[in-house]
Assembly symmetry: C2
Homo-oligomer: 343 residues x 2
């Protein structure tokens, strides 16, 4: 670092002794120039600290290097974790991730897509809100910008979807619960936002049927994304006022389970596996906090490393080929049983 500020590529061409078009080539792909010139350029870069103006670059390039990443709710550590993983993969591929959270609202989701549109992203990875999403507008966006969905599916929208095999994972935990104790009742929200919730409900009913048990749904009221709060409030209600058919509760997701565990504790109901416990509780997702509940939460983990990897891989392929998929890909990954103290 020395000398006075260089304000454009012209200036850097002067001090480096390399012509501007060659510099332009270099910045687009360092390997596209001869080794000797590359070394000259990099030597000059060390001395002079110049970087191409991103705005001028993006105005002229056919495609930007931006990849949008939209998640439904960043205050949920589950999504924050996936986002982090995906961001890392995008950066490693030489692209620029732009992270946006829909904060649980469909208006925000659309406004996220709109601000992405104005940034002209090469592609977008979208975990939609689900049931609440304004499907038409999301579809319109996805028809203009290469879009890959993950976590929650919107039928027919985007080039591909990567998510969890709720059928498999629910079956896994229902089987486990049945063979290790009483069959579970299913604790969920009456009108969940997330389409996975519906799949899990259906999968629960099917699994119970297959094992020869009567399914039993506990569907509680509650809106929004404060799942722990809903689990706590409604959990307290059903634990105190309702006679459960069995001593085992499977929650539609870990965050509900966290609230429910808290409610059980408050009401002096001992949860766990040993003989002194009167209730078993299990969840789904392997939420980052589920290791630290009391007792720690038995659950099913989602393979979100695979979801992230395949999602990024797919959007990169779409960007590179500049084509759309011949047919929409839909891949579900299997969950793994995570046995802990609560069931």
């Amino acid at each position: 670092m020395s000398d006075q500020k260089i304000k454009n590529m012209e200036g850097f061409a002067a001090v480096s002794g390399i012509s501007r078009p060659t510099l332009s080539k270099y910045f687009n792909d360092p390997d596209s120039v001869r080794k000797s010139t590359r070394q000259k350029i990099e030597a000059a870069l060390k001395k002079h600290d110049y970087r191409p103006n991103v705005y001028a670059v993006n105005q002229n390039r056919r495609q930007t290097k931006n990849i949008g990443l939209v998640v439904p709710n960043l205050t949920d550590p589950f999504f924050a974790g996936i986002a982090r993983t995906i961001e890392g993969l995008i950066v490693k591929a030489g692209f620029n991730p732009l992270l946006l959270s829909s904060h649980g609202g469909p208006e925000q989701e659309i406004s996220n897509l709109e601000s992405l549109r104005s940034i002209k992203p090469a592609g977008v990875l979208l975990a939609p809100l689900g049931r609440a999403s304004f499907e038409d507008q999301v579809a319109a966006f996805a028809s203009e910008v290469p879009t890959v969905l993950f976590d929650a599916n919107l039928e027919g929208i985007g080039e591909a979807f990567f998510g969890s095999d709720n059928n498999q994972s629910i079956n896994l935990i229902v089987e486990y619960l049945c063979r290790s104790g009483e069959p579970p009742v299913f604790f969920e929200m009456k009108t969940p936002i997330n389409p996975n919730a519906y799949k899990r409900r259906t999968a629960y009913i099917a699994a119970m049927g297959r094992l020869g048990h009567e399914p039993h749904l506990i569907q509680v009221d509650g809106q929004g994304w404060d799942f722990e709060e809903i689990g706590f409030r409604e959990g307290a209600r059903i634990l105190t006022q309702q006679k459960l058919p069995t001593n085992t509760i499977l929650c539609s997701n870990d965050r509900l389970a966290i609230g429910l565990l808290s409610a059980a504790f408050e009401n002096g109901i001992k949860v766990g596996l040993d003989a002194t416990a009167s209730l078993r509780i299990a969840g789904h997702d392997d939420h980052p906090f589920s290791r630290f509940t009391c007792p720690s939460l038995t659950t099913v983990s989602q393979d979100y490393d695979a979801i992230a990897a395949r999602g990024v891989e797919t959007i990169l392929k779409l960007i590179e080929s500049e084509k759309r998929m011949q047919r929409r890909e839909e891949t579900l990954f299997e969950g793994k049983l995570v046995m802990r103290g609560s069931a």
Copy 2:
């Protein structure tokens, strides 16, 4: 929406019957044109769906409308929450927030600042890692771009700092704990990343002295941001192997407390206020999950609405005035006692 695509302002000028320079004025500030022309423009916008190219705009404007927002770790719901609040305020002011997480690493923090620099933000709100931050490089950035720090202070860096008054808040909870039972020992990491942790340690020692008690620090090993894990692992160790001088533990932050609560539960140590409990645990921050621990966590809340509001307000003022602060502002907000079941 009709007609064929309009690709630039020239084209929109043609269909709207308004000259391009006037349109340019309008898009920079709708109120800068006569009402009648504004209506014409907005009528045309409804029909034709045109938006100025952000890259061309930002290349030519003296200042962009971008405001960078850097937090140490988005997977911590505490920061995700603040980020969300701040983002909302920035959008309301007509600016464009760019959210980046440093994931707990100083290299990432610097690389966040560098990618912000290339986006030429009008200003930046930065919650630095703290002790781990590469101070020189952060300072260099802050001298080029108007920067306001929050949450964690780096002495002398940036135009202003907004955070919590750890002295007041720790004093508050120490006093509460002392008057409601045995005086607390202080549970913390030996070498915390966060400068607030040091302030809290000092504040604890001072508060205990003031109340005539002997301070007692439990400083555990552990690196990184997995505070729950550290609290759990080291908590289990001290709860089982060490004889504590009192039955009350004040944790340096809620996430350590969450881990510690979990460790206590696993080891059959009953935590809480009633006579059957043998341990009291308190935290600091009012973490989103602290309501749902077992028992729920007594803690001190940070006034992060005020921190967010004042931070945004200040950066906007700096941007508007295009000047730096005459002198660095440092404002600390008071915490509030949140009494729950654990202490």
